[in-house]
Symmetry: C2
Subunit: 836 residues, 2 copies
């Protein structure tokens, strides 16, 4: 096989600018100032990478001026700040409201340099002054212990996108402009990042952007050609392919390619201005006519060398325009005297003495160059969303309650019911709340909300759409079959000061594990940054849950997202498993009011037994865990066994098991406990919701067997309770990767979470029973087998299992069958009074 | 705002075929047979969805013939089997080796119908016979308890792609054709699936496909227009955009659009033949010249109605060509007599009596139509990878060992060293082993392997590539900045009978949590399918681990992938944390030899202390957990404290803590334990690697404090050990979402996993010490503060911390400082003898 040769038709990032849009809009003076401002910016970037002392090189550079450990990335800095600076010109010229999203990894020096030059940095960090001492601190803190990171972290003014994990820049940028009609987000997309799946599909976001009610995004695909150690895919295809790709995605790509600074400045200035004017034209056209349409929005492909303005070669090896410029260009500068000189000459080539005055402050003509006040992209309030966040107008959820006259006997579709409330949430908040989902909103029984806000669709319309399509140009529901895009939009929407909810099937929420991790880290870190204001919580509603995925089988069974979330900081994560419809309402209301959390709510979407009227539900959810007296018969407070549950299906099965025990073994005293908020189970020292051991023991006992039916993998409960008193009495049943094509009962039996297994389990754990439980155990086993056989024959669980209802009434000591009120007894009231 | 109207330029999926490739290659007779075969296939699909009895409708359809619960999906069935059948013609005509990947969700009836008609189904499931009784069983089992699912699950002959979670069809298809030069994979891509991020970037796979050494993939984008309840993005853009998109991705798209069956058959036959011939032409051109290049490979855009061949409207609502055809088209058939008649007429419109003989067997002329033997796509051995898998030729890893003369005093780059062995693995297995990674292979210190196999790159080449680019047309390393694509390729490669390894940064492996979950479920389920043979394990090497992500900060710190993996079935998951270089070699060798697992190996890539010579390392890894006598001084077997560790950095810190204890409190007896295989910690009943309580107690004691320094979140250890004797004595330190820009020591201190915190922790836990430890504790605290202050000043940990070495020799009772051999003492030998 022949060896690879350079491809003749390859497009170099070097040379005089080539661009789609022609023109030289910058006057000589503007060009001079732009060039100087860019040199100042580049100098700051190198300063951050290398310098601990002697920030303006007013002494000859010595090794002791350098940081002992050189960290940070040079590769994308020049191209990013180049774009930033050219945006500044247009902000001033057209009075734009603009935001900058820095997508390429580790490109923070570019945006940090701008925040410093614009003065924002000194405003939020008064010790980082605009003088030599401030510059020294500004340089030293970068990628330095106790300092700031090499991404656009929460400490970075103007940032709502960190970019530690790659792929979400465009979806964040769109999230920020939805319902922000005057905002334009300039979104730098790294060509490495562009290879990720999430980024690759997020280009389709324009099919969901309304030119009347939303703002605009200008993606700048930064083709700097290289990742850590590889070329990028998009930099190594033909110009024609690249153009077609973005036209195919629905954009109008404008190319700016080259390395020659003066001509690149002119090309970028002309191109960006063209894009701004095109956006304004489309917006004007739609807004004046009231006719929304999908423009082929402008975007920019900026092909500039990796590590632009670095030496092209060092020691015979390519540096600028190659992956060697990715991180620290001269990593051995401390031990290689020639490289030390090279670095000094390189930094001085930006002529810092011309750019900063003797005090170390930027010279006045450059200080004048960027926009001022909130027009600075580093100071746009949208990037610090709490500044512009308005609390939701929430209808009183109590008015949407399900009427429950008999606990465990009435049934209802909890999710459909909650959708009534959500519909009115949307109606009352038409501009700052959106619902996101990967094509599952209707399936998840939330279709009622379309009455208040349909699904945004800017693609073509077909005749059948009128037949219940629920599509609209301006809607409140955002659906694309990409969990990544939905989550990214929601993150951008929330971080820019609005509110939202993602609804998704439980099994596939793992697709965005990593995104949620990163969002948790962002809001956790924001707590440490004094000038950061709190944003709305990011709410995730999981349904199509594991215990109703019997028919879809093994691939659709994974309740493990909770394990991922539970590993995050207790400052920011909350998990709720409401057992019924009124609890779901109470929990949802709480989540939509909260700030700075990731709230995960797990609730099934099918018909379910209801347990609590609204008042009881509110009290129960407020406590987060409680004894259900109406289901218990340990009136003396000395149970033989504690039956506990967490999750709606799990609760119904645990109750059915409790009923079996009480029916067949009436002398056995059963306490029934339900958990809504799983962090109640952790020690109070480990999570703000955690119970003390005393509180825990008062509910679960420290000496009685506890049969805990859990929605998710059982080990999550064990890891939360491993040091609780009586830990060895806790027997958790949950999902254990045992699935097939099943009925609900059979799936539960496989995992020993069905009523029969639970009841037998309880019998086995009660030493006081001795052999008295044997006959009952045998009977339960027979019932289980009978139910299984019927299910296998008919393909559906027997009616006596499916439509089981709680057979006891309110009386907590008796075993009288019948449908009476399921309200809490006196002890229940006492529980409420002692709750937090 | 104006209401949406149908868009005039919209492209309907209805009408006479429109296609890029013209021609009518089918004779009248071929057309007649193709049509009949398709009708038989469609009939089977409906049968699977609805019928429990009366499979060929030889009695009038009654409700009791139907399944009680109607499940399964009709939407994509027709388009998929249409494609399958047209592939069959070309397999026969051109003697193709072809595989079918069914991407659209829940489209199993299409491929199941083909496997049945081809006879494969009856071969692997002899009870599913080719007669009325067999048909009845075939229908009933579908989406029925105890039966098979509605995806192309492992029970489906010919499938290596389940499609439960969407987005991986193309990457799986490419994985299967790498190093399979004669294989052509027909990959149906759902237009819903096409919206996912992973799918959107996987189109770029052609930039990594070599026309000489690899086979080819024909993606068939199935534009059936709708998802569950929404139009699809790609079906609602202009024809021009669609064409440009795929040309931009580097493909040559051929369109086949319409609903009229005869003309659609001709169009598809002509188009598929054109694609096959084009592929052959490109392959021929490259193979005869020896010059690899990147062809603009052919693909097909098949626009046909959702639910094609169903009634267009039912009760005034659109069905065919709308999302209502997604799942069960007539869901109320059991309660709506009119719909029952409608269903009967619809099924009979396929004329089953013309297609199946009186016994229920397909008529001979149709039986003759598909290919035979392994040419049937349902019987391609590649889809049952173990059939074609060849074990690797592995060089003896012992010969690549790191020379360790003094345990804890010698240091080495474990990963670089392992790369020497990996290089030779690649050299010895040039056609069935590949290394995958998202642009991190060099960064992960595996660059040595390029000497045996470079990075595959079929994009353009630039002059600087010659300067150490390590790119080649035919290589062994696959790098694209998409964890999804890397993982998908690897899964496809492994499932089709080959071997591979994914290397990735630890923090971002969460990106593919869900993919790994799905792969675990696939191989777990395969264990239940008798005819499925075992495939190579899927190996994931995680590096750039949390404890060395101090400088990149919080976003780069997440060791939680292990929690996700540990939730999967114990039959298929294995996790190893080798403490040093020789253990890493031993573990890697074990993993590459194993089958049917997902092996996760966590190892840092920087310079590390080495602890074991090769023989000791092999023994230690074989045991999975062991006491390190050379680090312990509890010669009498009665320690005061057990210091335990799991993970390389964690082990070094725990050893340093042990040394501090032994130095400052020489009377304290410390036992040092190291865990390589974390599943050793689980009870033997819960995982095949688990220890019995007796084995566990022999190592950890049941009454002594255990300070366990863990690599990952501490709760993973707790959830594994919660019911072990002495559980409350186990104090695990690990990562707890406390990060910043740090030095390694400072990051550890934040999480209390540093040597000083661990030693202080141990002192606090030893009741026998009383106040005797106070002075030492104070001294340790002073040392910790001193180290921190030095680090904050210089930006780097003090040399005495960074370059710490184990100060004791081999003698297990003494405290003599000095560098002597670190081999295991006599008790170590005994441990080996009693290990499994």
């Amino acid at each position: 096989m022949s060896a690879p040769q350079p491809t003749s038709e390859s497009i170099s990032s070097f040379g005089v600018a080539r661009s789609t849009v022609q023109g030289e809009p910058l006057s000589k003076e503007e060009l001079r100032l732009t060039d100087a401002y860019m040199r100042a910016s580049l100098y700051l970037c190198l300063g951050m990478l290398y310098m601990r002392k002697n920030p303006l090189l007013r002494e000859p550079l010595r090794v002791e001026h350098l940081k002992a450990r050189l960290l940070g990335h040079w590769g994308s800095d020049a191209g990013q700040l180049f774009t930033y600076i050219h945006t500044n010109r247009l902000i001033k010229k057209y009075d734009l409201d603009a935001l900058f999203v820095s997508g390429p990894g580790h490109g923070a020096p570019s945006v940090l340099s701008q925040a410093y030059l614009e003065g924002t940095y000194s405003e939020v960090y008064p010790d980082i002054t605009q003088d030599v001492a401030g510059l020294q601190r500004f340089f030293k803190q970068f990628s330095f212990p106790g300092g700031i990171g090499s991404h656009a972290t929460p400490e970075t003014p103007g940032s709502l996108h960190e970019g530690g994990e790659l792929g979400y820049s465009i979806s964040h940028a769109f999230g920020a402009v939805f319902d922000n009609p005057n905002l334009i987000t300039i979104c730098m997309v790294g060509d490495g990042e562009a290879e990720t799946g999430p980024l690759a599909t997020s280009w389709h976001s324009t099919k969901f952007l309304n030119p009347i009610t939303d703002g605009a995004v200008i993606p700048v695909l930064h083709l700097n050609g290289y990742k850590i150690n590889n070329p990028t895919v998009l930099a190594r295809v033909s110009h024609d392919e690249l153009q077609r790709l973005f036209e195919g995605y629905g954009w109008t790509p404008y190319f700016v390619e080259g390395s020659d600074l003066p001509s690149m400045h002119q090309a970028m200035a002309a191109t960006m201005e063209h894009c701004i004017l095109e956006i304004r034209k489309y917006q004007q056209q739609a807004r004046s006519s009231g006719k929304a349409f999908r423009p082929r929005w402008p975007m920019i492909v900026l092909r500039s060398p990796k590590g632009w303005t670095a030496p092209r070669k060092v020691d015979g090896h390519y540096l600028e325009g190659f992956w060697r410029a990715h991180q620290i260009p001269l990593a051995d500068v401390a031990t290689n005297p020639e490289h030390l000189v090279l670095l000094e000459n390189w930094m001085k080539s930006y002529k810092p003495d011309e750019l900063f005055d003797t005090s170390g402050k930027l010279i006045p003509e450059l200080l004048d160059l960027p926009p001022k006040g909130v027009h600075r992209m580093s100071a746009n309030p949208v990037s610090n969303g709490g500044l512009v966040r308005k609390p939701l107008h929430l209808p009183d959820f109590r008015e949407y309650g399900i009427k429950v006259t008999s606990a465990g006997r009435d049934d209802a579709f909890s999710m459909n019911n909650m959708a009534n409330w959500m519909r009115d949430v949307i109606a009352k908040n038409p501009n700052n709340f959106r619902l996101f989902g990967p094509d599952e909103t209707e399936s998840n029984k939330l279709g009622e909300i379309y009455k208040a806000g349909k699904k945004v669709w800017m693609g073509d319309y077909f005749e059948e759409d009128a037949d219940g399509g629920n599509l609209a140009f301006a809607g409140r529901v955002m659906e694309i079959l990409s969990e990544h895009t939905c989550e990214g939009w929601l993150e951008g929407y929330v971080l820019s000061g609005r509110h939202g909810l993602l609804n998704s099937y439980e099994p596939f929420i793992h697709i965005i594990d990593s995104m949620v991790n990163q969002h948790c880290k962002w809001i956790e870190k924001c707590l440490d940054v004094e000038w950061r204001t709190k944003v709305s919580s990011l709410n995730i509603l999981l349904t199509a849950t594991v215990w109703r995925q019997d028919h879809n089988g093994f691939t659709h069974q994974d309740p493990g997202f909770l394990d991922v979330v539970a590993n995050k900081s207790p400052d920011v994560v909350r998990i709720y498993l409401p057992p019924d419809g009124n609890c779901l309402l109470s929990v949802m209301d709480h989540c939509l009011k909260s700030v700075n959390y990731v709230n995960v709510i797990v609730a099934d979407k099918q018909n379910h037994l209801q347990f609590m009227d609204m008042e009881d539900a509110v009290a129960h959810c407020t406590k987060g865990v409680g004894i259900w007296d109406w289901a218990s018969n340990d009136a003396d407070g000395e149970p033989d066994v504690v039956m506990a549950s967490c999750g709606d299906v799990s609760t119904a099965e645990a109750l059915a098991a409790t009923a079996l025990l009480r029916e067949y073994l009436p002398d056995v005293k059963v306490r029934f406990v339900n958990v809504v908020d799983i962090f109640k189970l952790i020690s109070s020292g480990d999570h703000p919701h955690g119970m003390t051991d005393k509180e825990y023991t008062a509910i679960f006992t420290d000496d009685k067997p506890i049969i805990f039916n859990f929605h998710s993998y059982p080990w999550l409960i064990h890891r939360m309770t491993y040091k609780r008193p009586g830990n060895l009495n806790l027997h958790v049943r949950g999902y254990k990767e045992k699935g097939n094509i099943d009925t609900p009962l059979e799936l539960a039996i496989r995992n020993q979470t069905d009523r029969f297994s639970l009841a037998m389990d309880a019998i086995d754990r009660m030493p006081t029973l001795h052999n008295k439980g044997s006959a009952t155990r045998e009977h339960l086993l027979n019932m289980q087998i009978k139910a299984q056989n019927e299910a296998f024959e008919h393909g559906i669980d027997p009616e006596w299992v499916r439509n089981w209802k709680w057979p006891f009434g309110k009386t907590v000591t008796g075993t009288v069958a019948g449908a009476v009120s399921g309200l809490l007894g006196p002890r229940g009231q006492k529980e409420f009074a002692t709750s937090e």
